[in-house]
Subunit: 268 residues, 2 copies
DNA sequence: CCAGTCTGTATATGCCGTACACCGAGTACT
DNA sequence: AGTACTCGGTGTACGGCATATACAGACTGG
């Protein structure tokens, strides 16, 4: 269903596409909490239960919404020099989508079948690091880490925004009004020292800061791996031909070795 | 209320402490979603509404629970050499608490008044970096980043665990059974290359991996700042006395300058 | 004795997702 | 032409949630 093709000639009445789009509008305005089958149906002028003729349930609707908005940036950012610039560009793209659709970061659960746009995104991120000296499992771990970082930052952003607009009080004002906190501050040396140093007067942009730290951390590992790059076949131990710059790192010396390793993994 | 003292002689009937403890047991077993006022009350043998005589509402109850469990590790990890070892130790402690009380990572919202244990933890984390060349705002940003990282990792952990025990199918099995995914794999070059390289056969431990990356990233910034360390008073520009190793970095040359800067910030 | 406070209770409102029974219109087949 | 069947939309209902409100008994201070 996620990989469905949009019906070419739109017929009157409900359709998956229309439901998904209405749901996205609603979630953009009210957040994932505010997304209910009743409200989606109202917005479309149908009864609640009519939606269930097209969509199995709320959870699957959210899956559809996710993949839909991930397709809003079909063009990947332009090719750039080096893994770092490329990865940074894609991370910013993901960040941009979450700024436009804050509810995206609020979706929970680990067993979401990815749709076409989601996989494409994931593949593009993985591609940025496959040319490096990182081991395959490290590529996957690094991309996962970066993805969770973007989601986590987006989550606090949407939460502060939502609480601000709900209460009409800005985050700064709210914390400023909590006098009781500052009375006890003296008991906490690091906290009060930083407070007096003005650490909270001009805070860092937390996405920019975190992104740089993460990329630095990944870069450190790449350098480490570069120094001890393994130049022998993972299967038979023979020396490998040198990898072309910015090409995939070679792991096996021949197709035969690759297939032997693949069968090994598959069987055991 | 968060800073309340436990009543010395326990009286029969309900009390904040008893409610909080019952709620923690419940959330440990069923997650934050499964925590409802009804169930807490049932567990204690009272009616739902009786709880509201002691606790303002569900949200505040969760705040109380948070601070309660943060107090389970009152002894901070032993003093270690260097900011990195100390910060790592505290991060692991936070991780440990979230493994014991997975719902902790599920708590959403940015305006939680911190309780005594929460502030103590935060102060301890900040303290690890105040001896470094980082600027105050960078210390705060780095600690925030690390905190969100721990929460994000804990969140996916609890989500997979919960889905596994709910469905009885392990995460690996579940993804393995999604044949439809692997059919399309060929269209995604990086993904299929990594798949064939066995990147998912022996995945990295995502907490360990991420923690190292983050600490490396922070270390990179510290080195950068170390090289260009500012050795003049932030207020009057006079040269500073050298900072004692592992002491707080000096920012002002005298108490007078510090107070002048403080008043400036406060007024404008 | 009585007013007031403190605790626990009972009932009710308004959300939510969705199971189930129904119904009219079209459609495919005999 | 008649009939069975499917499709899309409807209406009602259930069980779960947080919590507002009104109330009832017990204890306490004057």
């Amino acid at each position: 269903m996620l990989w469905r093709k949009e019906e070419p000639e739109p017929r009157p009445g409900l359709s998956v596409g229309r439901i998904v789009r209405a749901a996205i509008e609603l979630a953009d305005a009210e957040g994932l909490e505010g997304l209910s089958m009743r409200k989606v149906a109202d917005r479309l002028g149908f009864t609640t239960m009519s939606l269930y003729r097209h969509v199995p349930g709320r959870d699957q609707l959210v899956d559809l919404m996710r993949d839909e908005v991930m397709g809003e940036h079909p063009e990947l950012p332009p090719e750039r020099e080096g893994w770092r610039a490329r990865l940074e560009a894609i991370a910013r793209q993901a960040w941009e989508i979450r700024r436009r659709h804050p509810w995206l970061a609020e979706v929970r659960g680990t067993r979401h079948l990815p749709g076409p746009h989601g996989v494409a995104h994931y593949d593009a991120m993985l591609a940025t690091l496959t040319g490096t000296a990182l081991r395959p499992s490290e590529v996957v771990a690094a991309i996962g880490l970066l993805g969770r970082f973007v989601d986590a930052e987006a989550l606090v952003l949407v939460e502060t925004r939502r609480e601000e607009q709900r209460s009409g009080v800005s985050e700064q004002e709210w914390w400023g009004a909590r006098d009781s906190l500052y009375e006890r501050l003296d008991q906490y040396p690091a906290l009060s020292h930083l407070w007096e140093s003005g650490a909270w007067d001009a805070p860092e942009d937390s996405f920019e800061f975190g992104l740089r730290r993460l990329l630095d951390g990944i870069e450190a590992l790449i350098q480490e791996r570069d120094e001890t790059r393994d130049e022998t076949c993972q299967e038979c131990g023979k020396p490998l031909e040198p990898t072309a710059p910015s090409g995939r790192p070679r792991v096996y010396c021949s197709r035969a070795c690759q297939q032997r390793a693949y069968r090994k993994r598959k069987d055991g």
